[in-house]
């Protein structure tokens, strides 16, 4: 699944950033295979999404979150 499907409070491990013109921008922010992310907040209109990555919180639009392939952690 992709990161836009994560529910609030759920944690997931990134396993791939799908190829697009934004791949690098996403990676540079620290979204890399093997990293754990969790969804902290959805904006009131369900988009953008605020992800916790390590000690930082980064807001991405759904369209960008769709580029991040993840697996949910139990």
């Amino acid at each position: 699944m992709t990161a836009d499907k994560i529910k609030i409070g759920e944690r997931a491990i990134i396993h791939e950033i799908l190829p697009s013109e934004l791949t690098l921008n996403i990676m540079e922010m620290g979204f890399l295979p093997g990293k754990q992310i969790s969804l902290l907040q959805r904006a009131p209109l369900q988009d953008p999404l605020a992800f916790r990555l390590e000690n930082t919180v980064i807001a991405l639009r759904k369209a960008e979150a769709k580029l991040i392939e993840v697996t949910l952690e139990n």
């Binding site: 996403i26 620290g30 904006a43 009131p44 930082t56 919180v57 980064i58 807001a59 369209a63």
Partner: protein, 710 residues
């Protein structure tokens, strides 16, 4: 006796301060340099160059504060600067040393940038900042282990509490920077032959520099066409896949950083609820979040319009008195008139905006510094998107209620060019403070002071004018989104930093330096236009002018003081009417007649090009109230009683007043804004399009308004 150090004896060197956004880099810069900061320009771009000279012993260090960035690969205008400075493409600000600031609680991302700089081979040192928050999160950095792993000096600071600042000064003073060995093996990234060729041609020190040049040759206008073509040829020959290489570099770099961190960082898992997360529940709440944002907006409104009224009146009065005093000192003549009627009011016209601009910048500074601004972006992004705008467009648009110029300048941090361009194009439609005096006069004339429910009708109309501006922004942005086609994809990636209390000193410094930039940027244009308009309003074809002046009835000897005053006002008005501007006003009358304006209003439309509020003083002169009258009521009464000699009807009926307000709401009557748009878009194309569309919008809307109300 201490030796006197002359500037020539000082050895000078340049230090570039660099780091991710929100790592406290600017605080460190402020602590190191205080108010010695200067603002300059980088060649070819619009980003302000902030730098300061600091004397350390017998040395002089110039410290440059580079824009915050996550990597040396630029995504926005700001970040292009970082790329150029570090790669030595900008000869005027080539640094001798780099001081990289890293947020201790976000080491991984910080080191990403640090190791890229290491690979460029620049002598550097690393500052680990925000030690206190890192500790709260259970993060400990073994500085010595990190030093051993990186091979460059590492110091810890806490810039907010001033801890470690002296350490940084010592480090700079003793030049304890070290030239690092490269972190990643760049030779694995680039084919050997390609690397060798590029290094030789451009005399570069290492492969990573060659790689940077290759990476950017397509969109680096600083390179000559010849160099560009040569590089392109080389890349094609070597069949080199840039994009894949860069992704590989990013992954390998992060992997290598991970190893460094394992040796040098200790993490204890503290399962503490972060205060920031709690605050976000409130500030990002689907109803409460917007309610709080609305309250903050109202507070900014209140400050920009109510609190600034007192200093603005003082400034207004000061410049009026200054003109009078100077006129008394100097002998009568053209030069004196130029100074007292052209230059002094021209400067006054700029200075009067300083209280509003400064307050606006203070508020924006506080919102930025506390971390709230990125929450506004988060809240507003989805709402702005259908209109072709972006969450980051909100700040420029809010600034637009004070003045479009700082608003347009604030659009720089929108990374996406299409979103940024649309923001620039629509920001001048927000009702800026120069329109306010125009609205006040016209509403006073045309709208009865009755109440609708608990609200005054006049206040409601005023609110309506502001809403009209907002609606125009959204509709125009939407149309631009439909019309403009760019290949670039719109995106949003914003870090939401932890909430902090604002650092007042930083807020003040930001306010001061931004206001200064505004005064000089807009001031130049406003002053120049004021002088040109003064000349056009003071001179005219001599025969017609003499006739007009001679036609003014001279009161008999011994006439009352009142009659003399009337005479003077009539004379002033005759002079203006027969000037070049007066003639221009009559020339455009056929075009503006359908909007309900006579040629006198036409004159005011032209003089408004210096600044919209000049409308008021021009009308005062034209209708012989005397331009020195400060009392708005006097002008209002006079204008109300004005009758069109041809039709016998009042000139300022409701329809004309509404039509004029609508015209002022939409028309591009601000040369300074055009100058800034020219600067920000690097050409005349967009300012010209902006002027044309805004004028057309103003004309058509005013026409419709006039027809509806008459």
């Amino acid at each position: 006796m201490p030796e006197v150090i002359t500037p020539e004896k000082l050895s000078t060197f340049t230090v570039a301060l660099i780091g991710n956004p929100n790592v406290g880099k600017t605080t460190i810069f402020n602590r190191l340099t205080g108010l010695r900061q200067k603002v300059g320009n980088y060649p070819g771009v619009t980003v302000d160059k902030r730098y300061a000279s600091v004397k350390l012993g017998d040395q002089q260090a110039t410290i440059i504060d580079l824009p915050g960035t996550y990597s040396i690969y630029p995504n926005s205008e700001d970040e292009v600067i970082v790329h150029r400075v570090l790669n030595g493409l900008d000869k005027s600000s080539k640094p001798d040393f780099v001081l990289a600031v890293v947020d201790m609680s976000s080491m991984e991302r910080g080191l990403f940038l640090v190791t890229q700089i290491m690979d460029l081979g620049l002598p550097m040192a690393v500052v680990l900042n925000m030690a206190d928050t890192a500790e709260e999160q259970g993060i400990k950095v073994k500085a010595h282990a990190l030093y051993k792993a990186l091979g460059v000096p590492v110091i810890q600071t806490n810039a907010r509490s001033n801890k470690g600042i002296n350490g940084i000064l010592d480090l700079i003073g003793q030049q304890m920077f070290e030239k690092p060995t490269s972190f990643l093996d760049s030779d694995k990234l680039l084919p050997a032959e390609l690397s060798a060729n590029v290094r030789e041609k451009f005399t570069l020190n290492n492969t990573y520099q060659a790689y940077q040049l290759i990476r950017f040759h397509n969109n680096e206008p600083i390179l000559s066409q010849e160099d560009h073509d040569w590089l392109h040829e080389q890349v094609t020959q070597a069949d080199f896949d840039l994009k894949a290489t860069q992704i590989k570099e990013t992954q390998e770099r992060y992997a290598a950083i991970q190893q460094v961190l394992e040796q040098s960082v200790e993490k204890t898992d503290i399962q503490k609820k972060r205060l920031t997360d709690q605050l976000d529940k409130l500030f990002l709440h689907k109803i409460g979040g917007y309610a709080i944002f609305l309250c903050i907006l109202l507070l900014i409104f209140q400050a920009v319009f109510a609190w600034s009224a007192v200093p603005m009146d003082l400034i207004d009065g000061f410049f009026a008195r200054l003109s009078g005093t100077v006129a008394g000192w100097l002998p009568e003549g053209v030069l004196t008139d130029l100074i007292t009627e052209g230059i002094i009011p021209g400067i006054g016209g700029v200075v009067i905006f300083i209280p509003q601009i400064a307050l606006l910048f203070a508020f924006l500074g506080i919102l930025e510094d506390t971390g709230y601004m990125s929450r506004v972006v988060f809240l507003m992004d989805r709402i702005m998107r259908p209109f072709g705008l972006n969450g980051k467009s909100v700040v420029p648009l809010i600034s637009g209620i004070a003045c479009a110029i700082p608003g347009i300048m604030a659009s720089r941090n929108i990374g996406n060019w299409k979103d940024r361009l649309i923001t620039i194009m629509v920001t001048p439609l927000m009702s800026c403070s120069a329109r306010l005096p125009v609205y006040v006069i016209l509403i006073g004339i045309a709208v009865p002071a009755t109440n609708v429910g608990p609200f005054g009708l006049q206040a409601l109309v005023m609110l309506g004018m502001y809403l009209l501006g907002v609606v125009a922004v959204l509709v125009t942005a939407w149309i631009l989104k439909m019309v403009l086609h760019f290949k670039e994809r719109s995106y949003l990636m914003v870090e939401m930093p932890m909430y902090r209390l604002p650092r007042w000193k930083d807020v003040l410094i930001t306010m001061y330096s931004k206001s200064k930039t505004f005064v000089f940027e807009a001031g130049k244009v406003i002053l120049a236009i004021s002088i040109v308009l003064w000349v056009l309003a003071s001179y005219g074809p001599s025969s017609a002018r003499e006739e007009a002046i001679a036609a003014v009835e001279v009161p008999a000897d011994g006439a009352s003081e009142e009659a003399m005053l009337d005479y003077r006002h009539n004379l002033e008005s005759a002079e203006l009417e027969s000037s070049y501007i007066g003639i221009a006003g009559q020339f455009i009358e056929p075009a503006i007649r359908p909007l309900g304006y006579d040629w006198k209003i036409g004159i005011a439309l032209i003089t408004s090009f210096a600044a919209r509020e000049v409308f008021v003083s021009t009308m005062a002169t034209l209708y012989s109230v005397g331009s020195e009258v400060e009392d708005e009521l006097t002008i209002q009464q006079k204008l109300k009683s004005e009758v069109n000699p041809n039709t016998g009807e009042a000139v300022f009926n409701l329809a004309t007043a509404i039509s004029l307000m609508v015209f002022y709401a939409f028309a591009m009557q601000c040369m300074s804004t055009l100058a800034v748009v020219y600067r920000e878009t690097k050409g005349w194309k967009w300012p010209v399009i902006q002027t044309v569309y805004m004028t057309a919008l103003a004309y058509v809307s005013a026409l419709i308004a006039y027809q509806l109300f008459s």
